[in-house]
């Protein structure tokens, strides 16, 4: 009798524990999908001021004319942009490039500005005749980006952005394709304030489609 009672008690305790355990089990998700992580086909590179990226030297204020300097003589050097990402197993993607200047470049003179230009042989750009330009086939369509000096910061106005369209990917057998230079020019007005004037440049690449090297077409 005693043994039966103990067994009954243990059984009851086991059932109670089992019920308690099952009651506290987490509910199954209503969706079969779990968490998802999705990557955007957009990437940016920022160049901060104070670094040796593009230093336009010191401009004297004693003159009576605006002072200008640019990168077309490779002093200082221009930026070079490449569309990487091609490997043996997957095709690369074509990208649009957007260049933006940050708000921290606060000129005090309305005549001060910063402009950029893409030298390209078939584009007839203002900056394209002074040294080796980018190949036209760096772009999968007729080049329709920046064709002359384009302002990204002008006097005290808000900064603008500049777009360069349809850069095709560069691959290992293709040394010059999918790459181009960005020349930068800065003009300082005669009434510009004394001191350092810096800017953070942000270059953003956005995918526009997969590159087909056989047909030279970029498809979404």
């Amino acid at each position: 009798m005693t043994v039966v009672s103990k067994l009954s008690l243990y059984s009851l305790a086991f059932i109670a524990l089992f019920c308690a355990w099952t009651a506290t089990l987490p509910q199954e998700p209503q969706h079969t999908k779990q968490a998802s992580v999705t990557l955007f086909a957009v990437t940016s590179i920022r160049f901060y001021p104070g670094y040796e990226t593009v230093f336009f030297a010191n401009f004297g204020r004693s003159g009576t004319r605006n002072r200008t300097n640019d990168t077309t003589d490779d002093s200082p050097l221009p930026f070079a942009i490449e569309n990487d990402g091609v490997n043996d197993t997957k095709p690369g993607q074509c990208v649009n490039i957007t260049i933006a200047a940050s708000n921290d470049l606060a000129f005090a003179d309305d005549y001060s500005n910063m402009t950029i230009c893409v030298p390209i042989d078939a584009g007839g750009t203002d900056c394209g005749t002074r040294r080796a330009p980018a190949l036209a086939n760096s772009f999968y369509n007729t080049y329709n980006g920046i064709t002359s000096w384009t302002t990204i910061r002008n006097g005290r106005s808000a900064p603008a952005t500049a777009d360069i369209y349809g850069l095709r990917p560069r691959n290992s057998s293709d040394v010059q394709g999918g790459t181009f230079l960005i020349d930068v020019n800065t003009t300082i007005g005669i009434n510009e304030s004394i001191g350092y004037h810096n800017v953070t440049l942000t270059v953003t690449a956005t995918a526009t489609g997969n590159w087909n090297s056989g047909t030279n077409i970029c498809k979404l």
Binding site: P29, A35, S36, I45, E82
Partner: protein, 155 residues
């Protein structure tokens, strides 16, 4: 005689005195509490995303890779920064906490914003993942892993 009766009433038998029973119950309670606490605070799911960075040997040359099979930061010169965005979504029917960590040889250069947040059911959050390349970084290929941890949010 009275003492013996009282002891008999307060025990389940000679082999199961009341103190032993109380100790077992206490231990079970502690174990159960620990298990519940651990369960409530344990990350129950993780997503790992590979990260790749090529530190350029030229201060003005940048290379883009917009591939979405990993966090490709491309060719970034020393002193500059690269960034990629991703969306973290919760498809469960209950809120979840999310925490983002990094591992690998670029961990110290990686910043995720936000790095810790909560998601309601069917809600998503855009996360900006940046890599700040130090000016004295050695030009080379760097790799790492972004780890996105999830756990059920308990009230």
């Amino acid at each position: 005689m009275k003492t013996l009766v009282a002891k008999k009433r307060l025990s389940f038998g000679r082999k199961f005195p009341i103190r032993t029973a109380a100790a077992i119950v206490l231990c079970l309670g502690i174990i159960a509490t620990s298990l519940i606490f651990a369960y409530a605070h344990a990350w129950d799911e993780e997503v790992r995303v590979a990260m790749h960075l090529n530190v350029s040997d030229n201060a003005r040359t940048m290379g883009f890779n917009v591939g979405t099979d990993a966090l490709w930061f491309g060719r970034v010169p020393p002193g500059a920064a690269g960034s990629r965005d991703l969306t973290v979504a919760n498809h469960f029917a209950y809120p979840r906490d999310v925490e983002i960590r990094a591992e690998g040889n670029i961990t110290q250069w990686i910043t995720a914003a936000p790095s810790s947040f909560s998601l309601n059911p069917n809600e998503g959050q855009i996360v900006d993942v940046s890599v700040e390349v130090p000016r004295n970084a050695t030009p080379a290929e760097y790799d790492g892993t972004l780890i996105i941890l999830f756990r059920r949010q308990f009230p």
